[in-house]
């Protein structure tokens, strides 16, 4: 083999090995385990805190209210649909209780008149005609809306 070619070959081998060496050191752990990404990133995504606890957690303390709701027209509405946890709420809901003001604006999110909502089984009200100025919870019990309170 001519000297020139040998040197070229040697530098080529050197270049490739240096490349492999650097790559091994720069490549993050678990990269390429499942594909062209860091497999540990899947675990990173699992590590977030969940603020919403689901109904089973609410039932531990509030079984009575849950039963009331579950046997009435709001049975499909989950606890946290209305009592959404406050942002920055800690794991314990007692520290920042998810209280709800039963205002026209709040109940109107679902019950205000909108043509796109008709015929979907949700009662629609024109709040200009229906008891204007009052809060919904002054008459209705949100967990059993048709048990009207006497005024």
């Amino acid at each position: 083999m001519p000297k020139l070619i040998f040197r070229l070959f040697l530098s080529f081998v050197l270049f490739v090995s240096v490349f492999i060496f650097i790559q091994q050191h720069l490549k993050p752990d678990s990269f390429g385990k499942y594909g062209h990404y860091r497999a540990n990133a899947i675990d990173d995504n699992k590590m977030r805190t969940s603020y919403f606890k689901s109904e089973n957690k609410c039932k531990e303390c509030h079984q009575d209210i849950y039963d009331l709701k579950d046997n009435d027209v709001h049975y499909g509405v989950r606890c946290e649909s209305c009592h959404s946890p406050k942002i920055n709420a800690s794991v314990e809901c007692k520290e920042m209780p998810p209280k709800v003001e039963g205002t026209l604006k709040f109940c109107g999110q679902c019950h205000a008149m909108n043509l796109g909502r008709l015929k979907k089984g949700v009662p629609q009200l024109d709040f200009k005609e229906h008891k204007q100025g009052q809060n919904c919870i002054e008459c209705h019990n949100p967990h059993a809306p048709w048990e009207l309170k006497e005024n």
Binding site: Y37, I42, Y51, F52, S84, K105, N114, G116, R117
Partner: protein, 259 residues
């Protein structure tokens, strides 16, 4: 042109055929060794077979546009409050009597959608919740130059927040506009089907709070899951099927106006 040239041609022909056959033989010799290198991949494929395949169904016939899902998503996933950043949002489509289509989504639908067109002008009106479609052939994954966004083995498109360089190529690549640049973390962010919840057996936050069960979440491989039942019951469609993204968010009652 003589016999010499002809012979040369013939020699060349034999030489090429010999190299071709020899090459194939050599390759067949190497092949058993390839299997050793591949075993690792095969293991992961076996893992994949036991994993669920997550998907979502959206029932437009039940969606009332209350915006609870958008609100819940923002709380659950620390999405900035400004009405510009959304992992999911609800649009109201209004088709007027003259054929004009009006699409609205003030603040993504938080606080309930309100109809701005007078009732007598409306031909039809409906709500469409939108989110990441978790494409099987995701354009955003192909666009990412560093491998920071990927499809997890259980079929959810995720972002590696520590690896993302914030070039926003994926945001441009997404045909559904489902990604945004998080102004706090400075990396791309998107719907993960609440990956931290579904891996613990909970439902995604938007599904959890939906009062009319317009969102159905489940495992596409489990024939008894709510989602598979929903798909069996209803004729469903995906958004932008012509783009061949094979998305895993299925819409029931999708009108042709929806883009």
């Amino acid at each position: 042109m003589g016999t010499k040239r002809k012979l040369e041609n013939r020699r060349k022909f034999f030489q090429t055929s010999a190299t071709l056959i020899g090459g194939t033989l050599m390759y067949s010799l190497i092949k058993p060794f390839e299997a050793i290198a591949e075993t690792k991949e095969k293991d992961t494929e076996d893992d994949k077979a036991n994993l669920p395949l997550w998907g979502m169904g959206v029932d437009l016939e039940s969606c009332i546009g209350c915006g609870k899902c958008v609100e819940a998503c923002k709380i659950e996933n620390d999405v900035p409050k400004e009405p510009f950043y959304f992992r999911t949002w609800v649009e109201q489509y209004t088709v007027k009597n003259d054929g004009e289509v009006k699409i609205e989504s003030p603040n993504g639908g938080i606080g309930g959608l309100k109809q701005s067109v007078p009732d007598e002008d409306i031909f039809k009106s409906f709500m469409v919740p939108k989110l990441c479609n978790h494409c099987t052939k995701a354009p955003c994954v192909q666009a990412c130059p560093v491998g920071a966004t990927f499809i997890s083995p259980d079929g959810v498109v995720l972002v590696d927040e520590t690896y993302c360089i914030g070039c926003s190529y994926c945001i441009q690549a997404c045909p559904y506009g489902a990604r945004y640049m998080n102004p706090i973390t400075k990396v791309a962010d998107k719907c993960t089907f609440c990956y931290h919840r579904i891996t613990k057996g909970l439902q995604p936050a938007c599904v959890e709070v939906c009062p009319t069960d317009a969102r159905i979440f489940g495992n596409l491989k489990d024939k008894k899951s709510d989602l598979v039942k929903f798909l069996q019951k209803n004729p469903t469609q995906v958004l932008k099927p012509h783009l061949n993204t094979h998305s895993r968010v299925f819409y029931n009652g999708l009108s042709s106006e929806v883009k």
